[in-house]
Structures are given as structure tokens and as C-alpha cells.
Amino acid sequence: MRPQFSIIFFTTLAGMAQGLLFFLAIADLQGDIFPAAFLANLALPTAFILLVMGLIASFFHLGRPERAWRSIMMWKTSWLSREVITLPIVMAANAIALLFAFQGQVPTWVWSGLIISLIALWVCTAKIYQCIRFIQEWSHPSTLANFILLGITSGWLLLDFLSNIWSQPSSSSNQRISSVGFLLLFFALCLKLWIWRRNKNLKPKSNLASATGIKGIGIRQISMGLMGGSFNTREFFHHQSDFFIGNLKKIILVCAYIVPMLLMLFTFLSPSPIAIGVALLIHYAGLLAERWMFFAEANHPQNLYYQRVS
């Protein structure tokens, strides 16, 4: 598939905001770990701004953005429609939590509602891709697992950074935060490597014989019926070389996972808000590349019909 930056920015920004909100809610439900001023003035507004940025990015995906409101209509059948409904609910829950935080205390029902809406949004976003049964790279529960795991990992790194610039944490809590960050990154890395191995071993269910029904050996296309390209040749392929894809995979491993893990080890030993900020930035850059690759490595069976220009 052709990676689209609108969706790449939407899923990474919203995912990070969801992860941040998830841990804020969990932590606060465990008993006021964060001061209300931190929630009201820094953490909750940051999450809200990320969600708004994600929402704006998602509009660039539409050919007719002025009709976007129509996309709430088919919630009974369409995961995209459900996502469009769930995102404003998350934003509303975030805003309500912010209002309560300004008054000093966010009630349990707000945090609980927020957690439910966050999980619902993760499920909707992942299911948009997972439910397309003939894109075999996507049609697997690992799609959902990867969205959630990378969301909470990036959200945790952001929370780590925000709490560090708010106040210098004690060295014991700093060590705890860094080790959780390291573990989340490690699990996310394992999942990504497992997904890449699965993708590599996938056997396409469709082939030219099933796509055309032509009997005979060695079926090959000699004309796709057009020469100058079409929607079909533009939309379903990443248009990059194998060299580029191979190198991008290395960049993803290094930026999204390995460098942030090393920086977590570093901050475990010597607390440093700058190191955490750098870890967050590099991780986000890697996350953008990871999401780009999520689209690029999805093979669409329609490409069987578009193999030869002439």
C-alpha cells in the first residue's frame, strides 16, 4: 500500500496521546501519584493537543473533507465510522478530566470512562486494517497488539519526559520509570520482529491463476491495459526500491527501539531530562518510519492485475 502521511501522523500522535492518558488514568486510580497541577497544566493539555493534531492530520486523508461529518453514519458495519465516533469521545473524556483536574481532583468515573474510550479507539483504529481479510500482513491480531503496545510505549516515554520537566523525580522513582520504559520498548521490539518474520513467511492466497482463472502454466501479464499509470498503480504500492525498504527497516529498529532503550539504561543510571527528551524525539521519528512501513509492507492482491506496463 502507499503510505499516507495523514494516517501516519494521525495514528502515531493519537496513539501517543492515548498511551499518555492511559498511564495518567491508571496512576491516578492507584492513588494520586501525580499532583493535580501537573495534570491540569501539563499532562492533560499535552494529550489534548496531540489528539487535536492527530484529528487535523486525519482530515488531510480525505478527498472531500467538508463531508467528513457523514462518516459517522455507518457505525453498524464500518470500523472507520466507529473510529470517527470514538475519537471525539476520547477528546471529550480528556477535556472533562482536564476540567476536574483544574478543580483539584479527577473522579474515578471520569478516569474509568477515559480508559474504556481509549481502548475502544485502539480497537477501532487497528480493526480498520485488521478487518481487510485479503491484506494478509494486516489481517492478524498482531496488528491490534502492535498499535496498543507502541501507543503505550510512546505514551510512557512522553509521560516520563513531562514528569521530569515538571519536577526532578526521586532517584528510586526515576529508576522505576526508566526500567518500565526499557521493558515496554523491549516487548514492542520483540513484537515487531515477530511481525516481520510472520510477514516474510506469508504465502499469498491469491495468484495470477486465481485472479484471472486462466488455465495453463507460467501465466504472465503482458499488458495492464494502460501506460501512464492509474489510481491502481499509484495507491497500492510504496514506490520505493528494495534498497530503501531494507535500510528503512534498520532505521526503524535503531530509532524506534534500540536507541531509546539505550537511553533508558542511561537515565536509569543518571537521571537526565535531556536524555529522556532525546529518547522521546528519536523514538517518535522511528515510530513515523514504523507506521510508514506498516503500509508499505502490506501487499494488496489487486497488484496481481498491475504488473506490466505496455
Binding site: 500500500m1 486523508h61 480525505l62 478527498g63 472531500r64 473533507p65 463531508r67 467528513a68 457523514r70 462518516s71 459517522i72 453514519m73 455507518m74 458495519t77 464500518s78 470500523w79 472507520l80 465510522s81 470517527v84 480498520i128 478487518c131 481487510i132 481479510r133 485479503f134 491484506i135 492466497k205 491469491s206 495470477l208 486465481s210 485472479a211 484471472t212 482463472g213 486462466i214 488455465k215 495453463g216 502454466i217 507460467g218 501465466i219 504472465r220 501479464q221 503482458i222 499488458s223 495492464m224 491495459g225 494502460l226 501506460m227 501512464g228 499509470g229 492509474s230 489510481f231 491502481n232 495507491e235 497500492f236 494488496h300 492482491p301 489487486q302 497488484n303 492485475y305 498491475y306
Partner: protein
Amino acid sequence: MSKNKQLALVIDLNVCVGCHACVTSCKEWNTSGSAGPLSDLNAYGASPSGTFFNRVQTYEAGSYPNTQTVHFPKSCLHCEEPPCVPVCPTGASYKRKEDGIVLVDYDKCIGCSYCSWACPYGARELDEERQVMTKCTLCVDRIYSETLPESERKPACVLACPTSARIFGDVHDPLSAASQAIEERSGYALMPEWETKPANHYLPRSIMETIQLARNEN
């Protein structure tokens, strides 16, 4: 078989000569209608590109002396279980109950392209100028026309085909020419593995078997 009508095309790969008359007649009819033009980009440049509902592709198979060249027209298959319909967030993509035609309501489409991702056949094309999803309508504005002469109330591609490679009809009516062609000449569906139940069918080439028989007799 369901009692509902399911209009479809049956394409005879034995006689398609790859002349692209169905492609041009489809474009001519569908770019001229009230639904809006099928726009072309860079139409007179080195690399023209545009919206088409129908394409003719060409394939080869076998090795000498048993080779064959197959011209393969491809358009929306009007699936009985269309995967493109439930994914549409606005309801712009729908399947008509009365005749099984899968259509896009251009006034509701937000141009998100999700339905095109959900079609394994690549039958849908986003119109670059109008930014809405477009696809074969089975010439719904011809086949029910009250102003065209009765003999012309067929899809433009069917009328244009010089070798009658395209049979139009109700595949749920066992007596229709389309159903009988599928029945008698083992018409098949594309990518049956995804259980989309395409309504359009293809009639396999039998010429290779005929040649083989003749060779065996000699």
C-alpha cells in the same frame, strides 16, 4: 439461488480480441452523464492517466508450441458479498437490493479510499479531479432508460463489443442468456478464495483443448 435479481456481465474469453472498444465506449458514455465526468490527467502529455470503469488487460500462458494469449476485460464484478460496502463509513458505497448493482453515491463519498483498499480486484478508482470514488455502474442510467430504444438498454460495453464477448443479464434467472452461458460453458468467478461471490463471470477459453484434441487425432 436467491429470488432477487442480480444483474451482471459474463465475459467470453474465447472471443475477446482485445480491441478496447468496451473501454472507450464505457468512458464515452460514463463521462458524458449527469453523474459527472471521468476526469483525465495530463491527457495530451507523455504520461496520460485517467479514470476508467473498465480495462482490458492481456496475459500469456504456456510455452511453445502450447502458448496462448488471453485478452482479459476487467471491471467491477458486482459481488454478491461485496467487501467494499460494509467498510464505507458514510454509506456512499452500497449494493442495490432490487438488482444487485454495487454503486457509489458521489454526493455522499468523502474520498477516503477505504473501499478501494477493501476490494481485492482493484475495481474502484478515485477520480483525481472530483476526489470521489468511482466504479462501473453496469450503466444503470442506460439499462433503465425510458428514452433510449429498447435494444439499446444495455451497458455501453456490451453494445460496443464487436465479437459479442460480453453477455449482460440476470445471473439469478436460470433462463437468462448470462446464466445459461455460465451453466453450459463452466463460467467461473475471479479470486474465489476470498468468498466475495462475484456476480460477473468469465467463460474459460476452450480453444487449447480443441487444438489438443486435433493434435491427438493426427
